[in-house]
Amino acid sequence: MIRIAINALHTFPSACARRAAIAASEVASGAVPAHLQDGIPDADGVLVDEVLVDHRSISIRTVQVGPAREPDVRPYFWLRLEYDDVVEFTGQQSGWSYSYDQYETPQLVVSMDDQYPDSEPVDRDFIRTVSAWAQSFGIEQSLASHATEAGAGGVR
């Protein structure tokens, strides 16, 4: 079983994931991530939406907000850390859903987000970038992810 250090998320192709990684460092150093107290900003930005700390794990949720973004289109990222290792994460980004669970399915699973509205453009590059990211950290990808990646050229 591979270990995913929090630093790995600093290069994940999602601003929400990168903000979550920064927030995790803030929490580890005893600070509450600042955005929590600021509410939803008027301009585009990534908000630390929720932090939960217990005796063995930290979970953080971030969401990308902006005046033009409806709640169901907002990219988000949720992660759970145990003793500085990322053991679980899930998120949505530009028409894609992705998840990883070290205990259940230690593979990166990427699929098209069925709830994504047809009016929004799908980022075709995302799946290739996320695939390259997983490869660089030795994270296996599910067969469904490979199939989705292969078919991404023809996506919507």
């Binding site: 929490v27 005893g30 600070a31 509450v32 509410g39 932090v51 217990d54």
Partner: protein, 157 residues
């Protein structure tokens, strides 16, 4: 009820949970987890927008569960409070009223009178802070002063 009202609440877990919530609201996250001592410790904390939820646990067991407190605050206002003291007294907040009941262990002979006094102390605390108590708290507090912790009657005379 404000978080600051709990600074002299007669249950250590509740005082610690209010302190932890204040710290979180001010931007600093207290240490989570036990330090191995017999003191209550912050067991979990969550923050979402203005809502802070804190669980404090004591290493001391009451029957088969640990003494604890769960507090939820919206900003500095307490919206939910629930706890169990090491002496088996349960307390909770509903609306603007504090409720409390004695668990069976209160009547255990091993528990001293100091611990039996939790409910009267809750009644005193509520009075100081102008917070309502349930009729049961008031009646129990009155009964406790009459019987539970009175010294044994002198024989003779």
């Amino acid at each position: 009820m404000k978080l600051s009202d709990l600074t002299d609440f007669p249950a250590a877990c509740a005082r610690l949970s209010a302190w932890a919530a204040e710290q979180i609201l001010s931007g600093s996250l207290p240490r989570v987890g036990s330090d191995g001592s017999a003191l209550p410790y912050l067991y979990s904390a969550s923050v979402r927008e203005d809502e802070v939820a804190v669980t404090v646990r004591s290493p001391r067991l009451v029957g088969d569960e640990h003494a604890h407190c769960l507090l939820i605050a919206n900003g500095h206002r307490v919206t939910s409070l629930w706890g169990l003291t090491p002496s088996g007294v349960k307390y909770w907040l509903m609306g603007e009223t504090v409720y409390s009941v004695q668990g069976p262990s209160v009547f255990d002979a091993a528990i001293d009178c100091g611990e039996r006094d939790v409910i009267p102390l809750i009644a005193d605390w509520a009075q100081r802070h102008h917070i309502q108590v349930s009729p049961l708290v008031r009646v129990t507090a009155e009964a406790a002063t009459i019987s539970a912790c009175s010294p044994p009657p002198l024989e003779g005379n």
